[in-house]
């Protein structure tokens, strides 16, 4: 038997059988957005159901999409236009399975929908994007959205995949049963976008009419809590109902209430009901969830039809290899090896071309300008600094192309599956590997991606170790040092790729090691339980991958044209002034006399035990802004030192560098130790800023700087001293 507490179904008069205290304030049957202002739509749905693809199609924006759960972890706001040319605001929200949020990304969705975010308007209308291959599970979240009493448009996305899986959905019947517009489509192919825009353009949208009876043992509690939340906690009536249902689904009251504590009255009611149910042995959370699913199951039974029994899909057959305990690892290792091999082989031609253009530009400036400080500023500061870094653009693009392939095909989630076992050895689970894998490209999105991790301590551990994964900014440093270490093009690319792979391995091993340490000391918690949905494989979407590569290339060039340019000019000034009293002094003597030379000498005692001199020290300091600045700094320092007639690549100037006693500075051992330093040291201001934001404290970023840079020093000291003792 079910009690008569229902979601808003106001019927013909707009009142229906809502409780009296709500009926007075309830919305009419057909709700229209305020005509005076831009209507606000929220786009919601389960993770990886195609929300962002649809959002991009509607707004013309280019938010990142991928084929794994957790691509969107923060709300994105865009603007679209109705068929009448009226602007409409759309908020793309992170994927969620339920309004009972269990991770920070889901909490963003819940808070926006419940109107708790001061920086975001509460949506007037909600677009629920459903994965048509998974209707029942998708409708659970929609069911909760209906509790909010807002007009809803349902989009049945991935209809093509559903048909291929033998699932037929009667969209018209579903629309009739739910009482809201239902649009069948395939966002990837742009199908359904026009229909959605038309539905969004309607001045009036109906409120959901799907009926659901709250189970009898729970219903009185819902009514009581709803009244208390509405009267005592000041919640709008329909939000009060949704929140009452959430409080009776989620065991963690604080998680539901967010930063607004519940009133004593509401807390008292909740505690009393929970105690009563505990005494009766009633599983209130399970009862509510089951009741929703029973209702959804009946609905799905009526609107879906299986046209054939599903055998093993293509994804199943591919998974039989890619997540196999032996073949899976071989494929994983092959992908990584192929990535590094490509970086050294495919990138060679464009790199040589850029290198020659930079050199030609330097020569042209030298031949057209008269000798002097201004010319030196251009050649030794701007061209050596910025040109030295721009040359690595092709390799960075290759890295992003590979990461894009992994994200687009659905392999990321498989990598997390494979890595679950090794991750469990250090106290984390496979889900933590997705942010770590993303950090190979850049630690910033990697750290943002930790928002999908439910346990706060596991999330913090993942944030703390993510910057140890070798990001794309380290790539130019590694490449420069490998070029200095292994001169000549005759050496096989495999050897260079092998050294590179070693650095990536070292960073990954470091991340695992520190995760193990933190989980056993600072951030001890019970072993986490992992539930991860593996999306079906999809062909790579090259358009999106290329677009992402162009965006990254632009970002890289923008950095080169702003931060790196500014640092190069400042560094040129610091290495050129004050001028040595003797105008005929050699470049070596001049640079030692400069501001940078003097500052470098101050820190030299600290880094000399690692085999580094003051010139490298300057690079270490300047690259605190961003790791790749090390390369431009070396370009400026050794460009200045090489004098006017030398436009050779930086690596040649570095190979010629010596200590005051004539011993070579960049020995193979020093090159390796320098790479190891960059594997471990925290050298990125943007990462520090994002860690501060994500942990809401300076404590953790400062700790991160201390432990990472301290480890870098200790490991380099041990490696250099051991290498020296062994005669290297």
């Amino acid at each position: 038997m079910a009690a008569n507490v229902r979601p808003p179904d106001p019927g013909a008069d707009g009142r229906g059988d809502l409780p009296p205290h709500i009926a007075a304030a309830s919305l009419p049957r057909r709700a229209s957005p305020a005509s005076e202002r831009t209507p606000v739509y929220a786009m919601v749905g389960n993770p990886n159901c195609g929300k962002t693809t649809l959002f991009n199609a509607l707004t013309g924006l280019r938010q990142k999409v991928g084929n794994y759960p957790g691509v969107t972890v923060e709300k994105k706001i865009g603007e679209a236009y109705s068929q009448h040319g009226r602007p409409m605001k759309i908020i793309d929200l992170p994927g969620a399975y339920s309004l009972a949020a269990r991770s920070p990304d889901e909490a963003v969705t819940r808070d926006v929908l419940l109107g708790r975010r001061a920086d975001t308007p509460q949506p007037d209308r909600v677009i629920c994007v459903l994965d048509a291959t998974n209707l029942e599970r998708s409708l659970y979240f929609v069911h909760q959205i209906f509790d909010l009493g807002r007009p809803v448009i349902v989009v049945l996305n991935m209809m093509d995949l559903a048909q291929r899986a033998g699932i037929e959905i009667d969209a018209r019947e579903l629309e009739a049963r739910l009482g809201v517009p239902v649009i069948a489509g395939e966002a990837v192919h742009g199908r359904g976008v026009v229909e959605l825009r038309l539905a969004m353009s309607r001045a009036e949208l109906p409120l959901p009419r799907h009926r659901w009876d709250v189970p009898a043992p729970i219903a009185p509690a819902v009514a009581e809590l709803q009244a208390s939340l509405s009267e005592g906690d000041g919640r709008p009536p329909l939000v009060a109902r949704a929140e009452a249902l959430l409080l009776l689904t989620d065991f963690d009251t604080v998680r539901v209430a967010g930063s607004t504590p519940l009133s004593a009255r509401t807390t008292g009611i909740l505690d009393a009901w929970r105690q009563r149910w505990a005494g009766q042995g009633t599983d209130w959370s399970g009862t509510l969830i089951k009741s929703r699913y029973d209702s959804i199951h009946r609905l799905c039974h009526d609107v879906t039809r299986r046209t054939r029994t599903q055998g093993p899909s293509l994804s199943d057959r591919v998974d039989a290899i890619l997540i196999h305990s032996v073949w899976g690892w071989l494929v994983f290792a092959t992908i990584m090896a192929l990535l590094f091999f490509s970086i050294f082989t495919l990138a060679e031609y464009p790199m040589n071309w850029i290198d020659s253009q930079v050199a030609a530009l330097g020569d042209w400036v030298k031949s057209t300008m008269s000798a002097g400080d201004l010319r030196d500023l251009f050649t030794d500061g701007v061209i050596a600094g910025v040109g030295g870094i721009v040359v690595f653009l092709p390799q960075i693009l290759i890295l992003f192309f590979f990461v894009g392939l992994l994200e687009s095909t659905g392999y990321m989630a498989r990598a997390a599956f494979l890595m679950d076992r090794p991750m469990s050895r250090v106290g984390l689970h496979g889900k933590s590997f997705i942010p770590l894998l993303g950090s190979y490209a850049c630690a910033i999105p990697g750290i943002m991606a930790t928002r999908t991790i439910e346990d706060a301590k596991d999330r913090l551990v993942t944030i703390l170790v993510a910057p140890l994964m070798s990001c794309s900014a380290r790539l130019p440093v590694y490449l420069l040092m490998i070029a200095t270490l292994l001169p000549g093009d005759a050496l096989p690319a495999g050897t260079k790729a092998g050294i590179m792979l070693l650095m990536y391995f070292l960073g990954t091993a470091g991340a695992f090691g520190f995760a193990w340490l933190f989980k056993r000391t600072l951030l001890r918690s019970s072993p986490p339980l992992m539930i991860l949905e593996l999306p079906p494989y999809q062909p790579p979407r090259f358009k999106d991958i290329l677009r992402h590569m162009v965006e990254r290339a632009w970002l890289f060039l923008k950095n080169a044209g702003t931060i790196i340019l500014a640092i190069s000019i400042v560094l040129w000034f610091l290495t050129t002034y004050p001028k040595h009293p003797d105008p005929a002094a050699s470049p070596d003597v001049q640079i030692a006399h400069s501001f940078a030379g003097q500052a470098g000498k101050v820190i030299e005692p600290l880094i000399k035990p690692l085999g580094f001199d003051w010139r490298i020290g300057i690079g270490l300091i300047t690259s605190f802004a961003a790791r790749e600045v090390f390369v431009s700094s070396m370009g400026v320092i050794f460009g200045v030192q090489a004098g006017d007639d030398n436009t050779a690549p930086i690596r040649d100037a570095m190979r010629a560098a010596v200590w005051p006693d004539g011993a070579p500075l960049f020995t193979p051992l020093v090159c390796l130790v320098l790479m190891v330093y960059y594997v471990f040291a925290m050298q990125c201001m943007s990462t520090i800023a994002i860690v501060k934001r994500e942990t809401n404290s300076w404590r953790w970023p400062l700790f991160q700087i201390a432990y990472m840079t301290g480890t870098a020093w200790l490991v380099c000291f041990a490696a250099y001293q051991a290498g020296r003792a062994l005669g290297f």
Binding site: Y97, S98, A100, R102, T133, N134, E136, R137, Y140, A165, I167, T249, D250, F251, D252, S285, G286, I289, K290, Y293, T309, Q310, S315, D316, D319, A320, I323, H324, A413, A416, F417, D420, R421, S424, H429, G430, E454, P527, P528, L529, M530, I531, L532, E533, L534, P535, P536
Partner: protein, 84 residues
């Protein structure tokens, strides 16, 4: 005549290729809540695709990976080989 008891075991012990019905969830409350919300609650049919330490399962047409701890917390009754 009594029918043979249906074997009950944690999901991680369900052989690959076999289907079971979820009978009980034994993990912490938050885990049980989430897994029910994903449609993996009591009475759901689950087919084990592969894995022992990390399990890959098919539930309602979706592939779900569970680590060992999670798969240990889900008790299933083994269904006959023909059941799907």
């Amino acid at each position: 005549m009594s029918s043979a008891p249906i074997p009950l075991s944690p999901l991680c012990q369900l052989p690959a290729g076999r289907t079971g019905r979820v009978t009980r969830l034994t993990g912490d409350e938050g885990f049980c809540q989430r897994i029910r919300e994903m449609g993996f609650g009591e009475a759901a049919l689950v087919t084990k695709i592969s894995g022992s330490s990390t399990s890959l399962c098919l539930v309602n047409g979706m592939r779900i990976a569970l680590n060992h701890g999670a798969a240990m917390s889900i008790l299933v009754e083994h269904l006959p080989a023909a059941a799907r």
